[in-house]
């Protein structure tokens, strides 16, 4: 386990600035998500839709970031031939905007 952590940290340190930024945002989201989940378990899931919206938004944002991270990573360029980093980013923004709309709508 520690081994894995080390690998992850090393990878992060070696990464370029944008990927670092992504990583930081992902960590931030992870903490948000865990906090909400913990809160839900401790306090109860009364406004269940709000919980789902909050948690779902964080998870989806996380996933979108993970996608972006993969797509702009030159190591993966072979996988995403039709997707330039610029396009990846604009896709990401599109997906996120859809997500935020849904999130706010659902949280009511």
């Amino acid at each position: 386990m520690i081994n894995i952590l080390q690998i992850v940290c090393k990878d992060h340190q070696n990464a370029p600035a944008r990927i670092k930024l992504i990583d930081q945002f992902m960590v931030y989201l992870l903490i948000c998500g865990i906090a909400q989940f913990a809160f839900c378990i401790v306090v109860g899931n009364y406004p269940f839709n709000a919980f789902l919206a909050g948690f779902g938004t964080v998870v989806a944002q996380f996933v979108l970031l993970a996608n972006l991270r993969q797509q702009i990573n030159p190591a993966n360029a072979k996988e995403f031939k039709q997707i330039s980093p610029t396009r990846a980013f604009s896709d990401f923004v599109f997906g996120s905007l859809v997500l935020h709309f849904l999130g706010y709508h659902f949280v009511n």
Binding site: M1, I4, L5, V8, D11, H12, N14, A15, P16, A17, R18, L21, I22, D23, F25, M26, V27, Y28, L29, L30, C32, A35, Q36, F39, V43, G44, Y46, P47, N49, A50, F51, A53, G54, F55, T57, V58, Q61, V63, A66, R69, Q70, I72, N73, P74, A75, N76, A77, K78, E79, K81, S84, P85, T86, V93, S96, H100, G103, Y104, V107, N108
Partner: protein, 436 residues
Amino acid sequence: MVSRLLTILLALCASVLAIPPPESQRVLIVHDEANSDLDVQSLGADLVSRGYNVDVAQFTQHPQLLHFGERVYDNVLILSGKLKAFGKTLRAADFLQHMKLGGNLLMLSTPKHNPSTVREVADQLGFTVAPKGVEYANDFNNDLVAHQAYIIPEASGDLNGASVAKLGDNELLLPLISGAPTSYSFNRMKQAANTTVSDVFALGEDNTLAVGLQTLSNSRFAWIGSPELLKGEIGNKLTSWVFKEMNNLRLVKATHVNELGESDVFYQVNEPVVYCAQVEEWDPKDGKWYAYLYRDEIQLELRMLDPYYRLNLKRTGCIAFNMPDQYGMFTFHLDYKTPGFSFLKDDQIVTVLQRSNDAWDRSWTITNSWVYLGGVTTSVMGFMAFVVLYLAAPSVGTDGTESTDGKVEKASSQTKKAESSSASTGTKSEPKKKKS
């Protein structure tokens, strides 16, 4: 021809004892001359003095109860005579139709005058009139039993020789007067010596001497086994009940309103509602309708298939309560059935709506959800900050180092060639996931 006792007589009666309700003023008395023990003329005069318009007719004149399907009289008094059947205008069906249309009917038959039409009507209403010749007898006293405190509170008198009836299981039947426990009835014409128990028509209180019935639409009916019962206090009570002078209630209107006082709306679940029933009773002394005094006896049922609430109205005739926490079509069901009084029935179907989707608490009013609201907001904020920072940061170059945007396309196409063989290595994703 029908002999008409002019309504002028009404004016002559300065001291009016009672006033019939306006919709119950036309009376028809049908008799024949065989009715020697009853003075039809004085009976008619008495009724006129009480404010009725009275027509008197003989059976042979074939008076019509119905004219083109309309009821001609409000109240009909049949004093049976020697005719076995009353003829084609006075069949059992005509009497029933008369009552269906809201008319009242009082029938008299005796052991001697026992027409089949009366027995037929009785059969339809669920009681049996004793066959011809069967007489009431009580050898010990003149006691009688009065059953309906609201109609005839007490009765006594020598009714030996009257006709009797036995009641069936029709729930609407009201035994008004029945014989004392020591009474019996049998056919006196048969030889007394041969009389056995099996010849007895009925014993004790089973001998009903006066039978009442109120139909579901509040037409009133009575049968009596002796002309004596039309005389004196009992006769007075009897006719005033049958002719709806007494115990005559009406439901003027029943209303229900919500908190804002609006009626005829869809209710929401749990919404407060006020239900009011305006019930009045006819006061024959004043000749007016007055508010019914015992409104708190009236029960309101709120039902959807099954009753949800059963509530007695307040003295004001109203009741306030909250709709149940259940959507559906509910019925305000008022069904007041006190024996001897007019039945009150009213059903009003209302729709109770489910809580509408914008009636729930918004999430910002629920403290719990602030956390989640915050979760969404922070991720949106984070996203915005991220976008700004991302655009500010240098883009990712070929070899993992930073380069400018312009070079990216070329660079990545070079990588493609370089790494074309390996399968799916180098895929990076969410490296932080395992931390938790």
